[in-house]
Amino acid sequence: MDKKKLNPLARFRGFIQAGATLLTNIHLPNFAKGTLYQGGGKYVCVPGLNCYSCPGAAGACPVGAFQAVVGSSKFRFSYYITGILILFGVLLGRFICGFLCPFGWFQELLHKIPSPKLSTKKLKPLRYLKYAVLLVMVVLLPLLAVNELGMGDPFFCKYLCPQGVLEGAIPLSLTNAGIRAALGKLFTWKACILLAVIVGSVVFYRPFCKWLCPLGAFYALLNKVSLFQMRVDTHKCVSCGACAKACKMDVDITKTPNHAECIRCGMCMKACPTDAIQYKFGLGDQSNTETTKE
């Protein structure tokens, strides 16, 4: 590690991720009891992908809540949850993926397991898959594939989400015999997805975030307009290309500092020999505003 004055956010990112995961799942005794927290906190969404059915969960998953509302017979669209998501997206964008999402942290920890690491540069087209997941599984299917009473299924939660298995099905079935007895083919299928994501995360960096996560897709759409941005000082930049090499999300920050895939992890800032890359928060012209202290 070099002794540069790195922004504390980037420096302590691992701790922030751990803290966010803990706060998101603060009801720890519920893991032993095999029960869910069902209080008022569950009316609010957490920023990251975190299953409502995790025994420790302090809030609802925005993706799950959105599908539940859209899929209900009473409503066609969830203004409340979309509003919260836009707020999160405009304030922080994919900073949430890099710092606050428990499932992002989980994948990153897995990536620390020593193994041959593969680049995802050639797999860039797969990135668009997550927008399809967002549109089809989170919005369209719960809205349109309904029974005679106008009730839909939360397709993403039901058929795809590995976080639901990791945080919901596995801990609950360990302590609750009734839930264990209810595990069926769907559980096997989703456990396979979870296993694939786990193995994938060891060799690739954050494969689920890059290719499948509908929440990441939503925040990606708002990344360009979010208040949290990256700024590259062109006077300091020596065009060495170290940042692009260091980026595990395959972004060239000098060309597109606010790319939809940038999760603000700050690895480029660590790699930059001239400290040309900074975080910037707030409104205003990118080249003139001084928001981060040198």
């Binding site: 209900s72 920890l109 009473l149 360990l174 302590t175 009734g178 007895a181």
Partner: protein, 295 residues
């Protein structure tokens, strides 16, 4: 760097363990379920109960070989009904049935052991009500709590509901729950079918608690659309019965209660529009019927 390695190693270990634990849980689900549920409920309750249970185990292990013989002679199918009877009585019964396999001496020690266990079970039973009131989780214990409520038409209903039936199937649901709504017609069919056996299906919709008019109207509409005419009841959410209903985390959940309002078997999670779920529920119903006719 070293820290990274350690984190990685410990994480992979945790993963491996969790997967192993999960796999085992799934494969031996049915056999382990009753054992683990009793273990977890024991952990939730006071220490004295643990000590009492330990005493029971000591008694059994003292004459291990003899008891093994008794256990192997038992009819495996009756275990579900025995969950709510005194374990000591149950053992006495089993010893009685396998009497010819033992000498007089052996028979005496076995009955003495079983009687000791019956006494301990009674002590445990005396402890239980206090625990049930103390913790919400224990409210999902063995009996349906005392309640006074009404059906969706406003007719009063209370615990006497159970006494009037050989068994009562209680289905917990809510209006926004798709799998719940989709099994309403199947539950109605079941109700028609079990009427002849002296059984009844009763629905409890958590959105109708506290006579919430909006919830009741919505529930009535759904029941009508699905052609379901069996009784649906509600009570105050703050009552013990209300806590029982609101402590349920997965919907639909369907319980079978006997004439005394005691739970029979494991509650079923999932709709009975699926064949395997209906079969699981039928097992509980059969157990309840067998128990009722044995009286």
């Amino acid at each position: 760097m070293k820290f990274n390695r350690v984190t990685a190693l410990s994480l992979s270990l945790v993963l491996a363990f969790s997967l192993a634990a999960c796999g085992q849980g799934a494969s031996s689900a049915s056999s382990a379920s009753s054992a683990s549920s009793s273990a977890s409920s024991a952990a939730a309750e006071s220490k004295t109960e643990e000590q009492l249970l330990a005493e029971e185990n000591e008694i059994l292990s003292a004459n291990d070989a003899l008891w093994e013989k008794v256990f192997s002679s038992m009819d495996k199918n009756v275990t579900e009904t025995t969950l709510s009877t005194n374990y000591g009585d149950f053992l006495l019964n089993a010893v009685e049935k396998a009497k010819d396999q033992f000498s007089d001496e052996e028979y005496k020690t076995l009955t003495a052991d079983a009687e000791k266990i019956r006494d301990i079970e009674n002590q445990i039973a005396a402890l239980a009500p206090a625990d049930a009131a103390a913790s919400g989780a224990a409210a999902q214990g063995t009996a349906f709590p005392k309640f006074e409520g009404s059906d969706l038409e406003g007719n009063p209903v209370d615990n006497s509901l159970f006494a009037g039936n050989a068994f009562t199937v209680v289905n917990f649901w809510f209006n926004g729950c798709k799998p719940c709504v989709e099994e309403l017609d199947d539950l109605n069919d079941l109700n028609e079918k079990v009427k002849a056996q002296g059984g009844e299906v009763v629905g409890i919709n958590t959105e109708t608690l506290d006579s919430n008019q909006q919830g009741i109207d919505a529930a009535k509409k759904l029941l009508a659309t699905k052609g379901a005419s069996y009784r649906n009841i509600y009570f105050a959410s703050g009552s013990e019965a209300g806590k029982f209903a609101l402590n349920i985390m997965a919907f639909p959940t369907t319980y079978v209660f006997d004439r005394d309002g005691n739970v029979v078997g494991q509650p079923l999670l999932g709709g009975i529009d699926k064949e395997e779920n209906l079969a699981a529920l039928q097992k509980n119903i059969d157990a309840a019927l067998a128990k009722d006719s044995a009286k």
